[in-house]
Amino acid sequence: MTLVFSTTSAGALVVKGSLPWTPNAGDPPTAVLPGPWVYFIPEEGAAIEALVDRLIPPDPQTPGGKDAGCAVFIDRQLAGSYGSAEGLYMRGPFANGTPQQGDQSPLTPAVRYRQALAALDKYCRATFAGKSFAQLPDDQKDKVISGLEEGSATLDGADGKMFFAQLLTNTREGFFADPVYGGNRDMVAWKMIGFPGARYDYRDWVDRHNERYPLPPVGFAGRPGWVRQGP
């Protein structure tokens, strides 16, 4: 499961005389398949679904983070190269720096999620009479999230503020990325804002000023009306 990393793994090559073509050498993304969690354990999955659905709540026009697939997106990302911090500089010594020096944590994203979700669970159960985050009513969920965002809810064994920032970033990524990665199901986020998706040619439209672009979005796999139904 790599999901997005690809082109660096090839071996050394001598190129001489002609361009190095190989038939069908393209490297399209691997589609995320629906199904059970790959990285999360069920309790973590339930908490993430509840979290993403408050970060991006459902409304009458557009589903929320959960139905859009943001939790599935995050699960698959954590199981892949993103989760293991593949390609990042992860040598020590690890020291805390200034905000201008950027993230210096030795923990991979997958481990950060695991630790933060365990800590969040402990926090919620201690604060709300044994209830997990997913079991809280919406207004209490929102209070917990605000607490993480502002740094007022202190988690035991995890940096709540940092977790909030990472979760929000990943949730937005899942909501707006191509549906092939498991979020933005049926391109709901693109329809919400009017983004036509993976199109590539707007020559007929560049000087049609102040007009709404009329065509619906498409993803790498086309759109629902294009796909054959049945066996």
Binding site: G11, A12, G26, L88, T98, A177, D178, Y202
Partner: protein, 588 residues
């Protein structure tokens, strides 16, 4: 054990923009050229066809085409009193990797510098007096003039097919172009790109304020073009997935779309990919390069002997390789001595965001170099006397796409999540717009690169350390320029604008540009330059160092037109002077 290969005439380190240009010019002169490139071979049909090139997550968010920091990174601190820490994930700038280098995933905004930019120190001192410059500022002249490199700008633009409108043809001002630019010897190869709505509105507003707006010079071509090498580019389709992405249409000028198809047919050219040069080797005298040592993907070490070594690895890695190979005297800021790592500079960008009620901009209809700009506040195009700073930049409506993960602009005060955020994103995506200032970054005594004392790469070599912060001069400039831009944007009739001038301290966590400059600058005085006016190393005359590495400070424009003009200028000097009499081209 290192295996030694048969010698070649020329070895090129890095096959990006400058490496491709040099390889083409020198194979054309009959030399045997071997280019060694750290990353993979990359091409349009195999690596970024329009079937999946437009993938914001893969290319922009997860950096698929870029260097992995695990392979090579730098450490960073704002000033000498701090301990530098490694850049563990790219955020502030994005080093390229693989054939094409940054030329593969650049925007292709193709600007020339102003004539006065090349004689900056002399010009500013003459106009304002030497006391006007901040005490620690170390700007200097380039040792080359605009007129000298004009033919080479022209050559690069005709290689690329750059789309634009001249503002000055042989001294004659041209309506519709940039009236402040230096004289061009001929018109752009192709006409300007057509402009989307926001750019046209910006130009109208700028005109009403008495400015002279013009289309941004673009390497996203307005029409098909066949260059002098016989390579053809197609018309840009405004796909909006341009910078950080490869172009699936063959319409963005890159080594792939302008040089490589011709270069690869040269029987005296060979490229080795996924091979990283780890050092430039010197003979016992330390005054002659004998070639390079590189490793392949199985960590096998190879020695490639060569008569001529061309360092084309991008500014950051050029400086790093000079430091690691012990070429030239490393800069020491407290003693103010040495040249390698000296005069590192960057870029100072800022923004004005605008929110409208009655407009639909379709921001996804865009290209990497689209937009309308004004140049009234660049370089020394205006009187700095009353303002107490030097420098400037161009500004304009240059939003290069509407890719949704990163284009969720909301009015100030909107929460970062929840129902209000969601509604604000939906309401403002099509009707808001980001304008921008692209301004200069001058050099200072306390801004430099050296080797880090603590952190090492996977081979145990010291990482390069960057010590950089903005200075008061640049922050004042950014405030002034952003205010001027805001006046134009206000005239476009928005409901609300948000001014975002650059503020300190510099942070390595916010992307501005990948226009890192300096560190082995060109000049006429050996004590304050690492290479002469032909980009030839003062210390090792059979080594030439390309790239923005040579910029003594950065101007208020994107660097690559100048980087590549200098590459052609150096190639010309190598072919017509150096080969006839190998040795220093400038005597000291």
């Amino acid at each position: 054990m290192t295996r030694k290969l048969p010698a070649t005439d020329v070895v090129i380190i890095g096959l990006g923009w400058t490496g491709s240009i040099l390889a083409h010019e020198l194979t054309g002169a009959g030399l045997n050229v071997v280019a060694i490139e750290r990353g993979p071979w990359r091409d349009t049909a195999t690596d970024f066809p329009p079937a999946f090139a437009q993938d914001e997550l893969r290319y922009h968010i997860r950096h698929d085409l870029f260097l992995r920091p695990a392979q090579q990174t730098m450490t960073f601190r704002n000033n000498v009193n701090q301990t530098a820490l490694p850049i563990r994930a790219w955020q502030g700038f994005m080093p390229g990797n693989g054939v094409g280098g940054g030329g593969l995933h650049w925007n292709a905004q193709t600007w020339r510098f102003n004539p006065t930019d090349f004689q900056l120190k002399t010009h500013l001192t003459q106009r304002y007096g030497s006391k006007f410059l901040p005490e620690n500022m170390t700007i200097q002249d380039w040792g080359v003039t605009y007129d000298e490199i004009e033919p080479y700008y022209d050559k690069f633009e005709y290689l690329c097919g750059t789309s634009g409108k001249a503002g000055n043809l042989n001294g004659q001002k041209q309506a519709g172009g940039n009236p402040f630019e230096g004289p061009r010897s001929r018109e752009y190869p192709t006409p300007p790109q057509r402009q989307p709505y926001a750019a046209v509105l910006f130009a109208q507003a700028a005109k009403e304020l008495g400015y002279f707006p013009f289309p941004q010079p673009s390497g996203n071509l307005s029409q098909a073009y066949t260059n002098p090498l016989g390579v053809t580019l197609g018309a840009c389709t405004f796909c909006g997935f341009c910078e950080w992405f490869g172009c699936g249409n063959y319409s963005k000028a890159s080594p792939q779309t302008t040089i490589l198809p011709a270069l690869i047919r040269q029987p005296n050219f060979e490229a080795r990919t996924n091979c990283e040069v780890v050092r430039i080797n010197l003979d016992k005298s330390g005054k002659r390069a004998t070639g390079v040592t590189y490793i392949d993907t199985s960590d096998q070490e190879w020695e490639q002997p060569a008569d001529l070594v061309l360092l084309c690895a991008f500014q950051l890695f050029n400086v790093q390789l000079l430091l690691t190979s012990g070429i030239g005297k490393p800069y020491n800021p407290s003693r103010n001595e040495g040249v390698i790592g000296r005069n590192y500079s960057y870029q100072v960008t800022s923004n004005v965001d605008a929110f409208f009620d009655d407009k639909n901009f379709n921001p996804f209809i865009s290209s990497g170099s689209i937009g309308m700009c004004i140049d009234e506040f660049n370089g020394d195009n205006f009187d700095h006397g009353p303002h107490g700073f030097v420098g400037g930049g161009y500004m304009g409506a240059v939003q290069t796409g509407g890719r949704p993960i990163l284009t969720t602009r909301t009015p100030p005060g909107t929460p970062a999540w929840g129902a209000q955020w969601k509604k604000a994103v939906a309401d403002n995506y099509l009707s808001s717009y980001e304008t921008m200032v692209h301004a200069s970054s001058y050099s200072y005594r306390d801004v430099y690169c050296d080797l880090d004392p603590t952190y090492t790469d996977r081979l145990g070599r010291k990482l390069m350390r960057i010590t950089f912060d903005f200075h008061e001069n640049e922050l004042k400039m950014s405030q002034y320029l952003t205010d001027r831009l805001a006046e134009v944007v206000q005239k476009m009739g928005p409901r609300q604008i948000v001014k975002l001038p650059r503020t300190g301290p510099y942070t390595s966590t916010q992307y501005q540009t990948t226009h890192t400059c300096g560190g082995a600058v060109m000049g006429t005085d050996r004590s304050i330059s690492a290479v002469n006016r032909y980009l030839q190393s003062w210390d090792v005359p059979n080594l030439f160092v390309m790239g923005a590495t040579a910029f003594p400070q950065n101007a208020g424009y994107n660097p690559t037109d100048t980087v590549c003009a200098l590459a052609y200028w150096a190639a010309d000097a190598i072919v017509n002077q150096y080969l006839k009499n190998p040795g220093p081209l400038v005597q000291t």
